[in-house]
Point group: C2
Chain length 500, copies 2
């Protein structure tokens, strides 16, 4: 007779297989599915997600958890099985709080709302989207009530993206970042702008793909267990550590778009490809949380991929692929161009200095919506006011304002802060790595990424979801998440770039 | 309260979604999956297939069937719901006869056997594959015993591919075809061979794809609900009528390979794209049987795609894409080249005259294996003897002999005859269409395929799996399956080509 832990793992392995099957269907939907396939695909995904939810919240899970807990109680705290039982218990208690009907209705209305949003954004028509957004906010508030919370209903929503993160903690960090980043931006705006004309020249897509993928492989992305495809919005997805895929999109006349998207998604993929194989087919076989995941995409995209030492080595290789477009450009000029700081309307196109300001705006609006202090109808005005205050510009319309992101349309409220905290954590992780392994810095200067990847694998990637985000951050860096290293990184890098 | 039929349909719809999800995973496995992904994919597919089998053979299915039967009893015989209940009852009774453990063990051993076969074929090593093949034959014999049969255990196996088909019926048809096809081949071999040198010139893959896909679209393949990709072995697959995909493989220096594979798979795809939408998400929402499906792939590939009138119109278009390679070739020469008859070792490369002879050989060996009259160890010798007798040549090794097909390695015994009967049915269906709709012939001569497609849609495609294969054949053609039209087709076409 198999032990209860073994039975639990077998039960969870089937659920993991179904989740992975859903992920394959989602990947195909974004990459190759013909336009007609949408209705069938929605049905297939809905059925899979219903079965996953039914199985995970079933009495079987509860019975096996109850039986497994005493079996693992005496194991070391870092033992795979003990961590599994602990995290699954938390997942289970949380999942059971949402009634099945509520989950199904929310998913159905989110799909409708997302469709309306697509059309509303295209037509720059906030009014048509407003009632759907109001409904999504209602669902979020109800979700928070079902989950329960100690201090703030928004805490319950944050939990879905980074378990244990609180509104107070986000505020504490943002309150340090905001004035510092606004001030840094102000100072940069007084300095001359770098040359960027060459970024908009002719860069055939195939060569963009070859260069980006060569860099991804140099970072350590194992292409025998991954691949790069094209999708409207870049993403990374895992069907198991040995099949982790990324996508990008190409603009033939704007080189940075595809290249940095590939670096970004490669960061996510490195994480997923390096989760311990002993966790395979368990709920721990993936990245720890949104914040930790985003810290890795941002680390490889920005801290490494937009660094001076990186382009010192890679710019000559880039120029080999695009000799005409880059003939009159130096590595130094290229490095400056891809780090240009400029107030912009669109979050996903923002530079490192302004990016978090876009997030803070969204965070504040979300909290106000959940508190009921702000009505959905007031959003465009509130958006414009904060854009003016933080970034210094105001959107000419809702398309490039409140309608720009997909998240709210499908009810993802509480997600945005994890982007900014990912930036913050990236700097903290990187500073720790350099400190603990002195050979990492010189290796990077030579274009060797393996020492950094090894450290990250050992400290973060390997553990998958075994620990809570705060635990993992403390284990990996010796400290709780803090804004200091990130501000130091920004000031050092952009101070040098702009001669501040 | 929903009727029992509605409840049954909802239950079956979820199962259909899971089957379609499996099909997406299978498509990805053959097209884009990175090499490392195999282990995860096998787990995902095994879990999906286990859940599908559990759900379909559950007491729920039985209870809903029992309740639905009286509800549909008074409906017309051709009513969707009445057909559904009837066919699902048959499927259910059949599926329940195989013990779950038996199905799981067979699937596991089939996967192992298939892997061993791949290596054995590569290494031309029949001995290493022999014990696995013996096991697969044992499974087939046990399967037949579980299913039960009236006359011959092989009947029970045929049922999996064409319900109601019997060994005696296959023999009856093959006994007519064999001497006639052997004699036709003999006569052709005494005539001069057509010129074929130009088929082996340089044909860049992209242009092959464009031409093939343009023809597929002309046939009626709706590319907003389908697409073409590359895989090691061409196939068609459906995730619902609005997402039906095909694949091919390219040989830059042998034009016919990709082109006719696309025509063939387009035939399968036309069938699936035109199943009635009222059957969607039911077990009837796919082609009727292997024989009927293959009749459609062969009809579009051979009867249409290798016809003189087709190339009279399409050869100039082909030459536009490959002006250098086809500069010194006429439409007539091209037509003759793609219809060259030549004894060959490999079934999938065989021409229309020899193809069925390859099938008859396999059928006879399969029946002898199931009867116990032939031992697996004797297969290579028996293979050589029949090749000599029917096709006139003998394989130099097992790789191009008994090891060439994948079917036996995964336990598919009873499948091969459906290929030959598909050829036979294609001719019968085509003859009926020309007879019943006199405008079809002249339209085809003008390169207009819509009248033929309309007739096929109405008579065959639309019905999905509502009727048993023999019923559908009789409804569509007014007669049972018979070898006459096929032999007449072969004699007319190849008689003209070879001046017999």
């Amino acid at each position: 007779m198999a032990s209860a832990v073994e039975q639990l793992k077998e039960h969870l392995a089937e659920i993991a297989d179904l989740r992975r099957a859903s992920a394959v269907l989602g990947w195909d939907q974004q990459t190759y599915m013909p336009p007609g396939g949408g209705k069938h695909r929605a049905q297939q995904l809905a059925t899979l997600s219903r079965i996953v939810h039914e199985r995970f919240t079933s009495e079987t899970t509860l019975r096996l958890l109850d039986a497994a807990e005493p079996e693992v109680a005496a194991l070391p705290e870092t033992d795979d099985d003990r961590c599994l039982v602990r995290i699954v218990r938390m997942d289970y208690e949380r999942a059971r709080r949402l009634p099945n009907d509520f989950v199904a209705n929310r998913a159905r209305d989110a799909a409708i709302s997302n469709q309306v949003w697509r059309e509303a954004r295209r037509a720059n028509d906030f009014a048509s989207f407003r009632p759907h957004l109001a409904k999504m906010v209602d669902y979020a508030r109800q979700t928070a009530e079902y989950y329960g919370y100690q201090e703030h209903p928004y805490d319950a929503l944050l939990d879905d993206y980074d378990r244990g993160l609180t509104t107070a903690e986000v505020r504490r960090i943002f309150d340090v970042l905001r004035p510092a980043q606004v001030e840094l931006l102000r100072a940069i705006r007084e300095r001359p702008e770098p040359r960027t004309d060459f970024l908009y020249r002719d860069y055939p897509e195939a060569a963009q793909a070859e260069f980006s993928l060569a860099v991804a492989a140099d970072f350590g992305y194992d292409l025998s267990r991954g691949r790069l495809d094209v999708s409207p919005h870049p993403f990374a997805t895992s069907f198991g550590r040995d099949d982790v895929r990324i996508t990008t999109r190409y603009d033939r006349h704007f080189l940075p778009q595809a290249v940095f998207a590939v670096f970004h998604e490669t960061g996510h993929a490195l994480y997923e490809q390096n989760v311990s194989p002993t966790l395979d087919r368990t709920p721990l076989a993936r990245g720890c949380s949104n914040v930790v995941h985003e810290s890795q995409s941002r680390l490889w995209e920005n801290v490494i991929g937009r660094s001076e030492s990186f382009w010192r080595i890679y710019f000559p290789r880039l120029r080999e692929r695009f000799p005409a477009a880059l003939a009159d450009v130096s590595a130094e000029e290229f490095y400056r161009a891809v780090n240009r700081v400029q107030p912009s309307l669109i979050r996903v196109e923002a530079d490192e200095v302004t990016y978090n300001l876009h997030i803070m705006l969204r965070f504040e609006l979300e909290v106000a919506l959940i508190e009921g202090a702000l009505d959905v109808a007031e959003l465009p005005e509130a958006w414009a006011a904060r854009m003016k205050e933080y970034v210094g510009i105001v959107p000419p319309d809702d398309r490039d304002g409140v309608l720009q992101d997909t998240h709210w349309s499908s009810g993802s409220i509480g997600y945005f802060p994890t982007y900014a905290l990912g930036n913050v954590l990236a700097a903290q992780v990187y500073a720790t790595a350099l400190e603990q392994r002195p050979e990492i810095g010189p290796a990077l200067a030579e274009g060797e990424f393996a020492p950094l990847l090894d450290w990250l694998r050992e400290r973060i990637y390997h553990h998958g979801r075994k620990f809570l985000p705060q635990e993992l951050v403390r284990q990996a860096t010796g400290r709780a998440l803090e804004p200091g290293p990130y501000l130091a990184y920004l000031r050092r890098k952009f101070g040098a770039l702009y001669g501040l």
